[in-house]
Amino acid sequence: MVNLYGVQIAENQLVHKALRSFFGIGHNVADRICAKFSIHKTARISQLTQPKVTAISSEMTKMVIDTELKRKIGDNIMRLKDIGTYRGKRHAQGLPVRGQKTKKQIVSARRFNRVSTHT
């Protein structure tokens, strides 16, 4: 197990996949992180040297990811609600925010549009 950004990650995990397990890191960002440290596509966590793991962790601390990103998103929604915008209101009601019709299905809106989704 290797400690990456405070999370224990199995040694046989692909580096690219391990990076993508963090909220806010997708394929593109993971590609860029890998490129920055010259890590090839099929590299596994066990193949990384300890300085490289530390370097990746410190790189990730500079980015807005994981809980920090979730809090940021939540704060943005709260701001919308606090200043009384239509979008904030729709978030609070659990209804579509961007002008979709509400006659039929709005399942995604019900699931995701909450004031406290990401916090």
């Binding site: 590609d31 860029r32 890998c34 490129a35 920055k36 440290f37 010259s38 090839h40 596509k41 099929t42 590299a43 193949q47």
Partner: protein
């Protein structure tokens, strides 16, 4: 009118005994209530002969028979599938043995031998096939498992490859101290036998005790599956893991020659390791194989030593040249695509192919591939045509193969096809007898392409 039953009688509650349980009654019966048997509960009787399907519909409970969870054994162990995929079978005891002459080094440049089949050298003491195997000269899908032993066709193109050897060997035999370098690219349509020609060249080189350095598939270098890192001085990207593998192959294939090679000066490998003047080259490579950090330095030492007078001749081959003529899948820290020519190993090979670097005596041989996305710049360079300035082709590709002889590998001539079909027939994989009609038919269907000829000749399964 007065009703026959008085309302008052209906309103009076029925008399019940407080202690006795009230028997459940049928709607209509002549049995006195107290002597009647109690009613059976609803639902099917336990020993009912009803179908299980009906039973299930009647009961509300879902009855699932729980089976104990058994940990399933995986169909393949880790790495087993890759091993199966890459396994090379070179002999088939079920195939009929065909007596053929051996492909020896005496045949180099022999035009009379063209159009005949030859067996690759094998025997009790001959390790050529094992060494070729170590160099990954044999590849899957070359139909080796259909035959009793590996045999190849001596073609017109084989004669041309032999000419390269002849020219280098002439210099060697006359004792001239000049440099003798031959550079060539094998180019042709799909399935025309470029890789087999490389194999034939390697066979000769190994028999003549040359040092053979072979990159079996250039694709491995560029698809981003091996480690890479930037080397500060040369601004090239080193692939140390791949280089270690390459050194391992070189070491396995050229044990005898490398043992005889002595270093002309001391070198430093990596930061600490040092090799002294007079050490055997084999020892250097054995040290480097154990530590990937030393691999690139050791490879350079090997190439450097092979460039000095008195060193053994070299055959440096690379298959699938097209793959290193397109951008690689690697990225630099600024997220720009790394050009294949900026990777150290392809760069080194192309330096030898274009004549920037040279061995003291040696052949640099590349083969193009058909299994690759389009490489317009390479095609233009191979054709030697003027590039239209409005065509935005990669400007680095043309100079990288400049001056290399292009050996066009054509489809088989009729004599060659006949020899090959006779061999298939004698090996027992061909159903029809080889007469003029079948020959013409199969030759026309395959258009003389060796790969297609094999598939047309292959006996159908009955």
């Amino acid at each position: 009118m007065v009703p026959p039953i008085l309302w008052r009688c209906l309103r009076t509650p029925p008399i019940t005994h407080p202690l006795k349980p009230r028997p459940r009654l049928h709607n209509f019966t002549t049995t006195p209530p107290l002597s009647a048997k109690p009613l059976k509960p609803k639902g099917p009787p336990p020993s009912s002969k009803m179908k299980s399907g009906i039973q299930r519909t009647q009961s509300n409970k879902i009855r699932i028979k729980k089976e104990p969870i058994v940990a399933q054994k995986p169909a393949y162990e880790p790495g087993q599938r890759k091993e199966l995929r890459k396994r090379i079978v070179l002999s088939n005891t079920n195939a009929i043995q065909v007596v053929l002459p051996t492909m020896t080094a005496d045949l180099i440049g022999n035009e009379d031998a063209a159009g005949a089949m030859f067996a690759l050298p094998s025997g009790e003491e001959d390790t050529t096939i094992d060494r070729l195997r170590a160099l990954e000269a044999f590849q899957t899908k070359q139909h080796w498992p259909f035959f009793h032993r590996p045999c190849t066709l001596f073609r017109r193109e084989t004669v041309e490859v032999g000419r390269l050897f002849e020219r280098v060997m002439q210099r060697e035999s006359t004792g001239e101290d000049g440099w003798a370098n031959e550079r060539a690219i094998l180019h042709g349509y799909y399935g025309c036998g470029r890789t087999i020609l490389l194999l034939q060249a390697m066979t000769w080189a190994l028999q003549k005790d040359w040092v053979v350095i072979a990159i079996p598939n250039a694709q491995d270098l560029v698809i981003g599956h091996t480690e890479y890192e930037l080397e500060g001085n040369s601004h090239l990207w080193l692939q140390k893991a791949y280089t270690t593998d390459l050194l391992n192959k070189i070491l396995k294939a050229n044990q005898k020659t490398l043992k005889r090679m002595k270093l002309s000066q001391s070198y430093r490998l990596g930061r600490i390791e040092e090799v002294q003047k007079g050490d055997a080259m084999k020892k250097v490579l054995e040290t480097a194989v154990l530590d990937p950090l030393l691999a690139w330095d050791a490879f350079n030492v090997l190439l450097g030593e092979l460039g000095l007078p008195g060193s053994p001749p070299v055959l440096f081959t690379l298959d699938n040249l097209n793959q290193i003529s397109i951008p690689s899948k690697y990225r630099d820290p600024a997220f720009n695509v790394i050009h294949s020519h900026d990777l150290a190993l392809p760069n080194t090979f192309l330096a030898y192919l274009s004549g920037k670097r040279s061995f003291h005596k040696g052949i640099t041989l590349a083969a193009t591939s058909s299994k690759c996305s389009r490489t317009l710049a390479l095609d233009a360079a191979l054709e030697g045509r003027e590039v239209d300035p409005y065509e935005r082709l990669d400007p680095r590709i043309g100079p990288s193969i400049e001056g290399a002889q292009i050996i066009h590998v054509d489809s088989l001539s009729k004599e060659e096809a006949k020899a090959l079909m006779d061999y298939y027939s004698e090996s027992g994989i061909m159903k029809d007898t080889v007469d003029l009609t079948t020959f013409n038919e199969k030759y026309a269907v395959s258009a003389g392409n060796p790969r297609d000829l094999f598939s047309t000749c292959l006996r159908m399964r009955q």
